[in-house]
């Protein structure tokens, strides 16, 4: 384990930014967001950014290819892939786990080369949560915020930042800034971890009844009459899907730039009425079906296809951002069975 005095934090960030593009969470008018590192700008101490970190690998819009149309002829042009190495500093354990879940979608056969390319160029430095909030429930999904993962994990106390590499890419990153770091015993971050654990113990939603969401209950949960009541207030605004670190549905669209047709993909939302509308009609006619789809996917369908892994990391963004206070916790408590 390595350590750094907190007063030298900006020196560390500046050194990381020397060879690669560095993104860090910083505070702005609307809250914390990941932004390009600017020397001297302090790291946000907010628990989490408004938007999740999925943008780095699955951006909200992404050019896929371009077409030139000449009379009846078409020419296809592949875009140049971004090849810039980058570091994302300060990712929380929940968002770090979300990358593993996105990997299951985009890196399973057939591999999504756009995602794969971005993933190969990014190094993730995680940060142990100092003050988890009441909307946090990552532990319900087996995530340990004191072991935040990524390529490098970091913890901090009042004086120092502690860093440990988890992967060869993380080790290489630390080697590059070794002149700023000093050796620390493996137990150096134990106090910081203990503080976080103590804070977690006082939070309201650390256990959720998830046992009932097995594939064997798929039809029973799907047909449960309570979906109508649970979804009644839903506006279909899609905010939950946009702030969610694991939502990955996308649309593919064409845009006439005047110099050719740009085909791009962009985030889409199962909460939208047009999402499944097709030539023969729409299988999800009302918001009840759309709401049900979102939670069935995270709690039943995704686990059924991915060895039981739920597609939720308990980051709490949907609890904070939903304009009508709907969220996955209410759904889990209603439908997840007895055991908590």
């Amino acid at each position: 384990m390595k350590s750094l005095l907190l007063k030298d934090m900006d020196r560390l960030l500046a050194a990381l930014a020397e060879n690669r593009t560095l993104y860090v969470p910083t505070d702005g008018a609307g809250g914390a967001e990941y932004r390009l590192y600017q020397p001297g700008t302090p790291l946000s101490e907010a628990l989490n950014t408004n938007r999740s970190a999925k943008d780095f690998f699955f951006p909200q819009t992404e050019n896929m290819m371009r077409f030139q149309m000449r009379g009846k002829e078409i020419r296809i042009e592949e875009p140049t892939r971004p090849d810039e190495d980058f570091v994302v500093f300060g990712v929380r354990a929940c968002d770090a786990r979300s990358f593993e879940l996105l990997d299951k979608v985009f890196l399973s056969e057939p591999v999504d080369s756009y995602y794969q390319n971005r993933r190969a160029h990014g190094v993730i430095v995680t940060r142990c949560c100092g003050r988890p909030e009441e909307t946090c429930f990552c532990t319900a999904f087996g995530i340990d915020p004191t072991a935040p993962g990524g390529d490098v994990s970091t913890w901090q106390d009042d004086q120092r930042l502690y860093l440990a590499a988890n992967t060869p890419a993380g080790q290489a990153l630390l080697n590059g800034v070794a002149h700023l770091l000093t050796d620390a015993p493996e137990t150096a971050a134990d106090d910081a971890k203990a503080k976080t654990r103590a804070a977690l113990a006082n939070l309201p939603i650390q256990n959720l009844p998830l046992d009932g969401f097995g594939e064997e209950n798929l039809l029973a949960i799907f047909n449960d009459p309570r979906w109508a009541e649970l979804s009644r207030a839903c506006l279909g605004c899609g905010t939950c899907t946009f702030v969610c670190p694991t939502c990955q549905c996308y649309d593919i669209k064409d845009f006439d730039t005047g110099h050719g047709i740009q085909r791009f993909r962009c985030w889409d939302s199962c909460m939208y009425s047009e999402f499944t509308r097709c030539a023969h009609g729409n299988p999800r006619v009302s918001q009840v079906e759309r709401f049900r789809q979102r939670f069935m996917h995270k709690l039943v369908y995704f686990p059924a296809n991915n060895q039981g892994d739920f597609s939720c990391v308990g980051c709490g963004r949907c609890l904070q951002k939903c304009p009508v206070s709907l969220n996955i916790v209410k759904v889990i408590k209603a439908l997840g069975g007895e055991k908590a």
Binding site: L218, D254, I261, Q293
Partner: protein, 276 residues
Amino acid sequence: MSVNETLIPKLGVVTDIRIDTPDVKTFRVNALGGGKVFEHIPGQCAMLSIPGVGEAMFSITSSPTNKDYMEFSIKKCGCLTDWLHQMEPGQQITIRGPYGNGFPVDTAFKGKNLLFIAGGIGLAPLRSVINYVRANRADYGTIDIVYGSRSKDDLVDYREILDEWCAEEGVNVHLTIDREQEGWDGHVGFVPNYVKELGFDTNKTAIICGPPIMIKFTLAGLVELGFDKTQVYTTMELKMKCGVGKCGRCNIGAKYVCKDGPVFRCDQLDEMPNEY
């Protein structure tokens, strides 16, 4: 294989356009240098696109035994299909695929008596299997085809049905239209009822495709006749964008129609949510 290869399409050229019905045309597609853009198995689909207009999934209606070209029978019913219907031969299009599982022509269907039941444009995916089976006649038992449409003018592939299917020994074709029409002396009535009237023996494997409501009632009719759902196959259609199970749009429960389907055995549908 990577999505790099599958989301980025290949080019094809439309070499022939046949008018089937007032709102269905069949498009012949070749690779730019001739031949097919790719091989497929009956029941698989392909994403066709005119850049700037749209991209959508269509079933490949030609049989893989056709070595020269692929065909798509497409009903005019939206942005892209309107455009396809007004284009002329020589137009290039983009094409990617093949997608989906296809029909089990070399396993579960082998040696079986086959009963094809189609409604309207629902014949398009079945034509691929029918012509595949006809080309490999020794591998299969009897062939019955029940096909119905709104009117005589709405029967897709009518010339091929009359000239080839009806003329072939061991292939029994049963046509029906929804309402009486001048110049039609064949059966009149809806497909599900006609299937019950014909009263097929249960020693067959049935393959249904048509509008969702027709599939539902036909399946019920077959079950009434004593068919087990494990003997009945159908092929589904839902909105799709990627074709590889990642855009999150075509799922029925935990199954993605684009990769786990579009062909399902009807007993499998019972285990899936009723949301299609």
